[in-house]
Point group: C2
Chain length 198, copies 2
């Protein structure tokens, strides 16, 4: 009976955590992967207006090897969210000061959420403005970012060591669930959904 | 150190399962909650063209008590997916034959995925056409559905017993990730993502 199978599943209830949105960043140069610190972001249903990741859809890439390259798919990667603590951790592991969020093309930097990169899919982040974003996935490091980091650190070896060291520390990708302002320095609420393992 | 905290997380690797798409359904009467069996569905980025759940956004409702009622939010509920086995299970628990998927407003009926309602957020369902949908959440029964079921069964008490009995058996809500055809009777692949508990 299905009901008996269900009774074996351990359901971890949803819960709320508080954290701080310490920085907001966006693309300022059209050809650049990097982002620049701004006072606040205007979140729309399509993400950040004018940003290279804005839109409901995007071309499939190396992170989706199950699709032919370049076919249009639902985005799920409008925003990049990183952890202040994990930026510190990556830098430490590389023998450097904390890595700057803008070097990785991040849009939101959050402090006070332990192991942020493991926040569950479906976690909502509520801003004081009423805006919210929803976590779509853990972000995966790529060599492209490694190259950008190596340019900044001036150490060619970081092109390969960055992706290795930042694995599981690279933050999250998210979509806008409710539009509005995301203001640097504000407190945010993280609402974790129920969790279980299938 | 964050790395040590991460080493404590149990990561369940992604995997693939096969199952069968035994039925496809869509709304045929504009005012009705119910869906009707069709040979195939044309999945678009907005869901099912002309369907009441089509679109990238929708008004927040009772399932999102953290938002003011009616404010526009990202949809996440374009499609309703139910399990053939769970329809049987709900019917059995109500002392009835299997509940019909159309009575619940479902769009896709899948057979052969045990405890389908617990498929993780982020699970992809690939159709032979190349189309895919991605699981957004477990669906929650509501009294509205209970009322529709009670009308069909002719037993007023089912308005309340249906939501209670169908809890955790009510299937999933999903979004279209890649457009294309979903054809009744075809084999589908379920691609589970990595899972962990935060």
């Amino acid at each position: 009976m299905t009901r008996e199978l269900i009774d074996q599943i351990v359901i971890h209830p949803g819960r709320r955590l508080t954290a701080k949105l310490v920085a907001t960043l966006k693309t300022t140069e059209p050809d650049s992967f990097e982002t620049t610190v701004v006072d606040q972001l205007d979140l729309t249903f399509e993400g950040l207006a004018g940003d290279r990741h804005a839109g409901f859809t995007r071309p499939a890439g190396g992170r989706e090897p199950w699709y032919p390259g370049g076919v249009e798919i639902k985005s799920g990667r409008q925003l990049s969210i990183v952890s202040a603590e994990e930026l510190w951790e990556i830098g430490y592991a590389l023998g450097l000061p904390p890595i700057e969020a803008g070097w990785m093309g991040a849009n939101l930097v959050i402090e006070g959420a332990p192991r942020l990169s493991f926040l569950s899919r479906g976690t909502r982040i509520f801003m004081p403005s009423g805006a919210s974003v929803v976590v779509e996935n853990q972000n995966a490091p790529c060599r492209h970012t490694g190259r950008a980091i190596a340019t900044r650190t001036g150490r060619p070896g970081d092109e390969l060591s960055f992706p290795r060291i930042s694995r599981r520390l690279r933050g999250l990708v998210a979509s806008v669930e409710r539009p509005g302002a995301a203001v640097a320095g504000s407190d945010v609420t993280l609402q974790l959904p129920e969790q279980w393992i299938y």
